[in-house]
């Protein structure tokens, strides 16, 4: 057992919904993240999957301490990061970095690549003395596979994939222990996506990084993750190793999600049993009582409306699942066919 580098305990983040401009009135709360707990071990990749509105991006913001949680704790090596401020918070920021989704909007268009990648050193001058920064920036560019001579260029002179590499170089500059990747490849083309994923893997091996890898693409998450957490409407519904989630899912939502992913193999077209969910994700302002998935679940019983299913290991399964009726079901068929 390696040590836990980040521990999240009962994390809750609610956003008030307000009306009025001068006299604000709170009319409800968006329950973006509603009681999430997990651990991140040193050197591992934890994949977080879920559809839009499940709270995975809010989770990233709270992990990065860009938002303060409504309640609950995010512990970095036992220290509650949401309580930090000033110098302590700045020091912590060196350890946890963020890679964002959209490479087109996440880089300041009016800064050169050198300034962009050098900015972490300016904010944290103790990391690198002034004279060595330029060299460091060039090393970083080289590391992420960009030409160090392009240090004076502007972001718009690069393609999407290259910009994402710039973003990664920025995140790496301070040699963090954890990188939170919020949909880092979903805005990229297929062939470029693979390049960036390989880069992320290479960097992890080289620097022993831990990743929290947030994405909606289940194939991408499987490819990179050691463990996977599935989120639905602000809660985690199933957590397990990559094998446990993809080969032996027990929560109906995970099963439906997996079955809906198109597999790039036309021969599987007819022998693939797709679980069709009806309807859309309910509003996070007033989520359903009991189990949040029950309104779209084919297994739902009265119990599901009354009692919130806990995320725990249930009989016949080897990993935690938040369903009263969790059971295995064969979803990913390719192994038999191939």
């Amino acid at each position: 057992m390696t040590e836990n580098i980040i521990e999240v305990r009962d994390l809750v983040k609610h956003y008030p919904v307000t009306r009025g401009i001068v006299f604000k009135k709170t009319t409800g709360h968006v329950k973006a993240v509603d009681g999430v707990s997990f651990d991140l071990k040193a050197g591992e990749t934890l994949g977080v999957v879920g559809e839009s509105g499940c709270g995975k991006s809010t989770l990233a913001r709270v992990l990065m301490n860009l938002e303060r949680p409504t309640s609950g704790q995010v512990l970095y090596k036992g220290q509650d990061i949401s309580k930090l401020s000033g110098g302590a918070l700045r020091r912590l920021r060196r350890q946890i970095q963020l890679v964002m989704q959209d490479p087109y909007t996440s880089l300041n268009p009016r800064m050169t690549v050198g300034d962009l990648i050098g900015e972490p050193f300016e904010i944290h001058p103790e990391v690198a003395p002034r004279g060595s920064r330029r060299t460091k920036v060039k090393e970083l560019l080289d590391l992420v596979g960009l030409n160090p001579e392009h240090i004076n260029r502007y972001p718009h002179q690069f393609s999407g994939g290259q910009r994402q590499r710039i973003g990664i170089a920025r995140a790496l500059a301070l040699r963090p222990e954890v990188i939170v990747c919020d949909e880092p490849v979903s805005a990229l083309d297929v062939s470029i996506q693979a390049q960036v994923m390989n880069l992320l893997e290479k960097l992890q091996a080289e620097f022993g990084l831990s990743y929290v890898f947030i994405a909606h693409d289940l194939s991408v998450v499987r490819h990179l993750s050691d463990r996977v957490a599935v989120m639905y409407l602000g809660k985690m519904v199933e957590v397990g190793t990559e094998d446990e989630i993809y080969e032996r899912p027990t929560h109906p939502y995970t099963q439906a999600l997996l079955s809906a992913v198109p597999v790039p193999d036309p021969t599987l077209r007819d022998n693939k049993a797709i679980i069709r969910l009806t309807g859309d994700v309910p509003s996070p302002i007033s989520p359903p009582s009991g189990c949040r998935f029950r309104t779209r679940c084919w297994k739902a019983q009265d119990l599901c409306a009354q009692e919130v299913p806990l995320l725990q290991i249930r009989p016949g399964s080897d990993h935690p699942s938040a369903c009263h009726f969790a059971e295995r079901r064969e979803i990913v068929p390719a192994h038999e066919v191939a």
């Binding site: 860009l66 970095q97 963020l98 904010i123 260029r153 301070l174």
Partner: protein, 326 residues
């Protein structure tokens, strides 16, 4: 991209699709003839870009001339701008007096040259004042949000609600009513103040909305995640990306302020003879436009040229500050 050393100066092709551009991903491809590159920033690049623009040189030259005119009018003319001989009233332009003489027999050329000082000083200082006050208020309101924003916006609304002419009449008659013996600098200061006080809300709104739009940008979030403080976020990230509309509006304001100064003079509450300004000249000339159109033409031509130079300069600077347009 065959020429990487020049590529950051010369605009890289910007086709519709996002995924081309740029040079090969792989480092270490033939990148010969690489000059020792100095680190550059936005301002350095903007300057390099500006230097290559004829538009910039033309407008800058004109502005330098106008500024010299304002500072040392005697360099340009030896004529007397204030005293005239009625015998020469409305004499047409000639080799002696290039721009002719006005109703009171004063040399129009000399007057136009001397008029630059008041007009350009009033306009420039008012624009700078307006941009500073409005811009600062806009940044504070937009960035802080909440009650600060509400308060500042309501204050701005109050000033915004004052009709421009009425407002300046009130301000100027209070401090510069008939019978007051303020010297020309005090009057100029008062005119500048009234223009600034009545115009900043527009700039503030402009700045505020641009800050609001930029504040939520991913790169601001990214900077916060790196641990950047408020000062750095405002100076390095917000300001450079919010400045463009302000610059454009500022250059347009230069023109309208020269006109506004003229209006105030015309109403008798702004600058007064013997002070010379283009505004005063234009308002004086309009009664004689049929008989002596040149009385209007020359100061107006100078005014238009000056305004145009500022607009062109603003345009050039705005383009230079946007790497995408280089």
């Amino acid at each position: 991209m065959s020429d990487p050393s020049a590529a950051s100066l010369v605009s890289t092709p910007r086709p519709e699709q996002p995924s081309e551009a740029g040079a090969p991903v792989n480092a270490g491809l033939p990148e010969s003839a690489q000059k020792q590159q100095k680190p550059r920033g936005l301002l350095g690049d903007a300057w390099i870009d500006l230097r290559r623009k004829p538009l910039f040189w033309i407008s800058a030259t004109l502005i330098v001339i106008f500024v010299l005119m304002a500072a040392f009018p005697s360099l340009f003319t030896s004529g007397d701008a204030v005293n005239g001989a009625l015998s020469r009233s409305q004499v047409k332009p000639s080799a002696d007096a290039w721009f002719g003489y006005d109703v009171q027999g004063r040399d129009v050329f000399a007057r136009t040259i001397y008029g630059a000082r008041a007009s350009i000083m009033v306009a420039l200082l008012s624009v700078i004042g307006t941009l500073l006050i409005g811009g600062t208020m806009g940044i504070i309101a937009g960035y802080r949000g909440g009650w600060v924003d509400a308060l500042l916006s309501r204050i701005a609304d109050i000033f915004f609600g004052l009709p421009f002419v009425l407002g300046s009449i009130v301000i100027l008659t209070t401090f510069n009513g008939s019978g007051s013996d303020n010297n020309e600098w005090t009057i100029m200061g008062l005119v500048i103040m009234s223009l600034t006080v009545l115009s900043w809300p527009v700039v503030m709104r402009l700045m505020r909305s641009s800050v609001l739009a930029t504040k939520e940008a991913d790169y601001i979030v990214a900077a916060r995640a790196l641990g950047a403080g408020t000062g750095r976020i405002i100076l390095k990230h917000l300001l450079p990306n919010c400045l463009a509309p302000l610059l454009v509006y500022g250059t347009i304001m230069v023109g309208s302020f020269i006109g506004a100064e003229a209006t105030l003079s015309f109403l008798g509450i702004g600058l007064k003879t013997p002070v010379v300004s283009w505004g005063i000249m234009i308002s004086e000339a309009q009664n004689y436009i049929r008989v002596s159109p040149y009385l209007l033409f020359f100061p107006a031509a100078f005014l238009v040229t000056a305004v145009l130079s500022f607009v062109m300069l603003g345009e050039a600077v705005r383009e230079a500050l946007d790497p995408k347009l280089r």
